[in-house]
Each structure stands twice: as structure tokens, then as C-alpha cells.
């Protein structure tokens, strides 16, 4: 990865009077690493200790994992399809009200997810602002998997769009224009020049958005409800199990930890390879 090389070359081991400062910095890092890894470790220790691995293969766990997989995949497809061109427009076009739109798009980042869930419910619930008209046509969204995807898109979209827009903004216009001069059309230029140049930002944005969608809890439980196989994603299953069977809740947490870890490693590996290929 490009970023990593840069970091590697700019950090030098300190000498003399810098020792204290860098010692503090290293201690801070150790503190942070410990603080993050201890709870994760505790999950695994508990599971090993109580021998609750079996709970990971329980129907509740399997259904929840499959549902999380399915809904986050659809969410990402929607985000890539809609979010990518939207981010490009945000990065390139200057129009009146673009500042307002930028702020609006960022709101779900700072809005507590439970508030987002209430907002979605009041908009798309059966008696909601939009929902009441959908209801006339026999379309109800609450308690469906569609509602889960809507909640995930709502909270995850800004994470992708923001980073994608920054990535597109960093693409040199001169390079894009040169491609035009060479006879590439708008589509060709976008897919052959702009997207590859912005790829690290797009991947990073997609990964954060995916992680956010996977962890989505508040908006989902409020807007979509919780039902096994339909709306009960992993975070909801953990909450439901916590209220009755702590061991199962721990097992589910370990399961999603392993799953998230695997996805992050896979994406890191693939991006590293693709940047190396192009270099």
C-alpha cells in the first residue's frame, strides 16, 4: 500500500532529548493496543473456557450470519452503484447548494443510529410520511429484509461517499483531460483513468462503509424489528441472546469478530496486490 510506505520512511528512531517524547508516544500506542485487544481477547478466552464453540453453529447464529452477509452485500452493491457517481459529482461539480448537500450527506455519521431508526420509521413505517402512500399500494417495509438494507444504506452511505469524493478530488484533472485528448470518451475515461487512480480511496471507503453496515444495530432494531432469518442480523442476534443466554451472545460475538477479521485481511491483501500489479 502506498500509505504504508510513506509512514515507514518518515518515522526515524529517536536520539538524545527526543527519547522521552518518543517513549511517551510508544507507551501511548501500547496503551491503545492493549485497550483494544484485551476485550477482544476476553471474548475468545471466555469461549475457550466455557467451551461454547457449539453455539456458533446454532441455527440462530447461522441464520444471523447469513442474513448479515446478504444484507451487507446488497448494501454495498447499492452504495457502489449509486454512491460512486454521486461522490464524483460531489468532488467535481461546483453548484449552488453543494455545501448544504455535503453537510446533509454527513448527518447520518453524527446521528445516533437509534435516532436514525426512529427517523426511518416515521418516514417509511406504515403510517409514515412516505409509508402511508406505499401502504395504499400494498407495500409495507417494516419487519422486512428490505428495511434492514435501508437502515444499513442510511448509516453506511456517508462513509463511502465521503472517502470516494475525497479520492476523486485528489485525481489530477490534467490526467483526466489528457485521456480525453487521446480520444477516450467520458465513460472510458471514468472507468480506465479516474476509477483506477482513486481506487485506494474507493476501497478504503467501501471497507469502512461495509464495517459500519455489518455493525448496524440501532437503526435496524428500531426500523426493521428483530426476527430470525428476516431482520435479525448478527448485532441483533447478539443483543437478543444477551437477554437470555450469555454464552451464546459471546459465541456470536467471537463469530462476527472472526468474520470481520477475515474480510479486512482479504481486502487488504487484494488491494495490496492490485496496487503492486499496476506499479
Amino acid at each position: 500500500m502506498k500509505g504504508r510506505d510513506k509512514v515507514g520512511s518518515s518515522i526515524r528512531l529517536p536520539r538524545g532529548s527526543d527519547t522521552l517524547a518518543s517513549g511517551l508516544a510508544v507507551a501511548s500506542l501500547a496503551l491503545l493496543v492493549g485497550f483494544v485487544s484485551l476485550p477482544l481477547l476476553s471474548l475468545v478466552v471466555w469461549t475457550v473456557d466455557k467451551g461454547t464453540w457449539r453455539a456458533m453453529a446454532s441455527p440462530v447464529a447461522v441464520d444471523a450470519l447469513l442474513l448479515s452477509l446478504r444484507t451487507t452485500a446488497i448494501t454495498m452493491a447499492i452504495l457502489l452503484l449509486i454512491g460512486t457517481p454521486a461522490a464524483y459529482v460531489l468532488a467535481r461539480a461546483e453548484f449552488r447548494g453543494s455545501r448544504v448537500i455535503n453537510t446533509l450527506i454527513d448527518i447520518p455519521v453524527v446521528l445516533p443510529p437509534s435516532a436514525a431508526g426512529i427517523a426511518l420509521l416515521l418516514a417509511f413505517g406504515r403510517l409514515g410520511l412516505v409509508g402511508q402512500y406505499l401502504n395504499v399500494f400494498g407495500i409495507t417495509l417494516s419487519f422486512t429484509t428490505v428495511a434492514v438494507v435501508m437502515a444499513e444504506v442510511f448509516v453506511a452511505a456517508p462513509f463511502y461517499v465521503r472517502q470516494a469524493a475525497t479520492g476523486f478530488g485528489a485525481v489530477d484533472r490534467a490526467v483526466e483531460e489528457a485521456a480525453m485528448v487521446d480520444g477516450a470518451g467520458h465513460w472510458r475515461r471514468f472507468f480506465r483513468v479516474t476509477i483506477p487512480l482513486a481506487l485506494p480511496a474507493l476501497v478504503a471507503g467501501a471497507l469502512t462503509a461495509w464495517a459500519r453496515a455489518l455493525g448496524e444495530f440501532g437503526a435496524t432494531i428500531i426500523f426493521a424489528g428483530s426476527f430470525r432469518g428476516v431482520t435479525q442480523t448478527i448485532p441483533l442476534a447478539i443483543f437478543a441472546e444477551f437477554q437470555r443466554d450469555l454464552d451464546a451472545a459471546v459465541a456470536l460475538s467471537v463469530l462476527v469478530l472472526g468474520f470481520a477479521f477475515a474480510v479486512i485481511l482479504a481486502v487488504r491483501y487484494l488491494t495490496a496486490r492490485s496496487t503492486k500489479d499496476r506499479a
Binding site: 420509521l121 416515521l122 413505517g125 406504515r126 403510517l127 409495507t140 417494516s142 419487519f143 432494531i221 426493521a224 424489528g225 428483530s226 426476527f227 430470525r228 428476516v230 431482520t231 435479525q232 443483543f239 437478543a240 444477551f242 437477554q243 437470555r244 450469555l246
Partner: protein, 219 residues
């Protein structure tokens, strides 16, 4: 309301209340949450607490409650009597597994088999579209109009929602009367105050306040 009264009676004391489903509260107490008194909406959670030595002294029943069915005011699924909850395409919401309100609902459905036929229970359960974290959340699904019906306690028919929700009564021979036990906890920081709180809740004054909220008196 009772908290204010308690603070009046015991100057300098601040009452902190945590409302969750009884099963969540039990888990929290088991995990060492700092609590002086445990009031449970079911005997089962209290029995577990007693068995695990979390309780100081004997629990006593402080209130009774009855299950009801709640539907939105406009009643989109046209539920007029209890057996209508088995009609096809009713969007029924229940509290989560092991939440007492939901457990009682299941018991009632089981009992109703004798009266409404063997399929009744199956039909009702196939109408369930969501399991909520607690009974209040499932009631709010009806309040906001997304669910056609839910099982709740009579005490959940609170004054603030009476203009948006209707009650469908469950026949008394099928209904289950829930008894709520209360007890001071072994790990209470102030056992004296814990005992006083239990006394206030079970006193005539406390019972009067609870009745205002549609609870039935313990005795």
C-alpha cells in the same frame, strides 16, 4: 412518582431506577451491576436470583398484572376479539424469548388450543413478524401503527397511549395473572434503604400509585 416520595421521606437519598426486561435485569445483576432492589415482572427471574444467592431475605409479591392484546386505534387487521389474532396476515409482534410477557402469551396460546382448536397456536405464531427486546418496545410497534397487534400487560395501557391504542381482552379462563416479586439484593450498598423501598412499594400508598397505572393490587 414513588421515587419522588421516597426521596421526600429520606432526605439526601437519590433513587436511581433502571427499567429493562426482567431477564436483562437479572443478567445485569448476575454480572455485578450495582443494584439495591430487584423488582421482577415474573417469578422465574426472581427464583433464579434467589437460587443464586443474589437476594437478601424473602421476595414478596408487590403487584399483579394481566395480559391483554393491544391493537392500533384504526385497527387495520380488524381484531375485535381475542381469537382474531389467528387470522391470516395479521402482523403480530411479541417480546423476545424469555421475556415474561412473551412467555405468558405463549402459555395463553397453549391453553387456548383446547377452546379454539389445535391450529390456533400455530396460526398465531405464524403471524409473528418481530420479536422485540421487551414488552414496551412491542407495544410501541402498535402505537406507531406498524404492527396490527401485540400481547402486553394491562399496565402497559398507559395514559399516554390511550388515544392511539385499543385493548382486546383475553378471556379470563385463558388469561394468566402475573405476580411481580420484589426483593432487596444481597450486594445492596445500603440494605437499610433497600428494605425501606420494598416497604414503600408494598404499603397502601405504593399500591395506590401502582393501581393508577392499571396494575392489580398484590393482596
Amino acid at each position: 412518582m414513588l421515587a419522588n416520595r421516597f426521596e421526600e421521606q429520606n432526605p439526601g437519598v437519590k433513587v436511581k431506577q433502571s427499567f429493562e426486561s426482567s431477564s436483562t435485569l437479572l443478567t445485569q445483576i448476575q454480572q455485578g451491576a450495582p443494584a439495591d432492589v430487584f423488582a421482577s415482572a415474573a417469578e422465574e427471574e426472581m427464583n433464579t436470583a434467589v437460587k443464586e444467592g443474589l437476594v437478601n431475605g424473602e421476595p414478596e409479591v408487590f403487584v399483579k398484572n394481566r395480559e391483554i392484546v393491544m391493537v392500533p386505534k384504526d385497527n387495520p387487521a380488524n381484531i375485535r376479539r381475542f381469537r382474531d389474532v389467528a387470522k391470516p396476515d395479521v402482523k403480530l409482534v411479541l417480546a423476545g424469548k424469555d421475556v415474561p410477557a412473551a412467555d405468558y402469551a405463549l402459555e395463553i396460546l397453549d391453553k387456548a388450543k383446547g377452546e379454539y382448536g389445535a391450529d390456533f397456536e400455530k396460526d398465531v405464531l405464524s403471524n409473528v413478524v418481530s420479536r422485540e427486546s421487551d414488552v414496551r418496545a412491542s407495544v410501541n410497534r402498535v402505537v406507531v401503527g406498524d404492527a396490527d397487534a401485540t400481547f402486553g400487560y394491562a399496565s402497559d395501557y398507559t395514559p399516554d397511549i390511550r388515544d392511539r391504542v385499543e385493548i382486546v381482552r383475553i378471556p379470563p379462563d385463558l388469561n394468566i395473572v402475573a405476580t411481580y416479586p420484589i426483593a432487596a439484593l444481597e450486594d445492596a450498598k445500603s440494605p437499610e434503604l433497600a428494605k425501606k423501598w420494598v416497604e414503600l412499594v408494598t404499603s397502601e400508598e405504593g399500591q395506590g400509585v401502582l393501581q393508577k397505572w392499571n396494575f392489580e393490587p398484590a393482596a
